[in-house]
């Protein structure tokens, strides 16, 4: 799928596309070969990074952009992923945020999210 076809999903997030989202998307696409799900995973990874989850809290405006990435990723999963994948992604975010709250180390985000695609197999 071309970037043009993904455009509605990237509305408001164009700057992020050139600022790392494209590379993240490519990495997930190589693993899952399903553009909308790869974009969902990329949005969630970038969203978590923008928010500063588990590290230094992002300033408010950056947090809001991170929230939008998470929400858009979540909506893509709701519309295009099987239930098992939706649940796995949600559980990954739950794990990352609970570790962050407890100030404990968390597994690498990308590995965790790539594992969440297990439900596709």
């Amino acid at each position: 799928m071309s970037v043009q076809l993904l455009e509605p999903e990237l509305d408001r997030l164009q700057e992020l596309w050139s600022d790392g989202l494209a590379d993240t998307y490519d990495a997930y696409l190589a693993a899952v070969d399903e553009p909308r799900l790869a974009l969902a995973a990329a949005l969630i990874e970038v969203g978590i990074r923008l928010q500063g989850l588990g590290g230094l809290a992002a300033p408010p405006t950056t947090l809001l952009m991170g929230d939008l990435c998470l929400a858009r990723g979540s909506r893509l999963l709701a519309d295009h992923a099987p239930l098992a994948v939706q649940v796995a992604f949600a559980r990954s975010i739950e794990l990352l945020s609970s570790r962050a709250a407890a100030q404990q180390p968390a597994p690498p985000v990308r590995q965790l999210l790539q594992d969440s695609f297990g439900g596709l197999r």
Binding site: L68, R91, S98
Partner: protein, 458 residues
Amino acid sequence: MSTHRLEFATTRSTEFVDITPRLQEEVRQAGLRNGRIHLQSLHTTLGLAINENEPLLLRDFQGLLEKLAPAGAGYEHDNFERRLEITAGEPVNGHAHCRQLLLSAFATLLVEDGNLVLGRWQSVFAVELDGPRHRQLAMQLEGEFAQQRDTAESLVEVELARQLMVDPEPIAGPMRRLVEAGGKRLRPRLVQLTSGIGPRNDPLRAAELAAAVELLHNATLVHDDYVDESTQRRGRPTVAAKEGAARAIAVGDYYFAKATRLIAQIGNPGVTSEVADALEAICASQIDDVALRGSYPGDRDSYMRVIRGKTASLFAAACASGALLSGANEEVVGALRRYGDLLGTAFQMADDVIDFSPSSGKPVGQDVRQRVLSLPLIYAAEDRVVGPEVRRLLAGTLGDAEVGLVTELVTSTDALPRVREEAQALVDAAVRELEAVELDGLRPVLAGIARLAVDRAS
């Protein structure tokens, strides 16, 4: 016997805070039918009084207190050289203590048929004598309580408690404090009501969905409070204020993910998509909201766009998802979605009006202080007479004095009644949406909720 603390913030040195609506709400929530409500001030410079809520009369009271115990009249209490155990920041407030002696620290009110027994002109005031401060009243309700709380509401509370019980404490603790602090629970109520419309009425699944929607709403509030730099929510410190921004982000994210998972696991794709769309609208509108603060107070069109995303979208999703869960037909789902959208918009407008009311339980002008979009402010800024002054004040630094002035200017225009009228018109439109579809006797309840959502004091 039911025991509570009534918390509120005052904004001026002397202030008559009308707590009557909040007491009535406490009586309703406790289910007290006939009995008494006992109040006790937990401060030595906060009194209680029952009298008429008439602005000029309140000024007379203030004048009387100032005459009987003037500030700076050489109180021995204010002579720090002679006093023992002076704490840092000790206020010079002998006059406030003396004024409190003229009032009462206690009050007992009677309750009959679920209502406070008050004369036509009587209101209950907490009287601030040394503000602004955060205040608490101890409260005990005793007597005959309703035999059973509404079963549906209980199911949601049980489900919320059950979900919070299984979460890790660093995450669950802050959310539990927020959930237990109350809130109107309008969104879960709408889910439950609309889930009874179609042929697949399942109260347990409806309670799961309702609780998840409430968790999602609360997750957005946790992040909002960090963004808006709010220190209080529902009378308690916000997660960001109490535990820091990093914890607030983690708590918001956790319940954002958990709520979406719980909703997905209900196994109705239509419901999952409905709520996911609403969440996206909320996040996008929140960005617009913050961006628009650069051109504060903005214009009506921008305001409407923001509140429809930020507030109305989850009301609409709550109504539509309940109906979808029950297997209601598309026509009914659509009508309920539009009802929720109109109701949510009216609800937010009513909230804006309440921000200018001293009886809301929140500091007056909080939205102004935080530069949150507000329709009364937009109208006041457009006013031919006071508009230029409102805009001049909003363009500068907003300290207590400026917020007080802006509040006075807004209340001097027709902005508040105008917004109230608009909110009422939206409620009427919401109720009309219900008229074209078959709702199995639910129409009066939904109409009542819509009217109550705008006809409230807090």
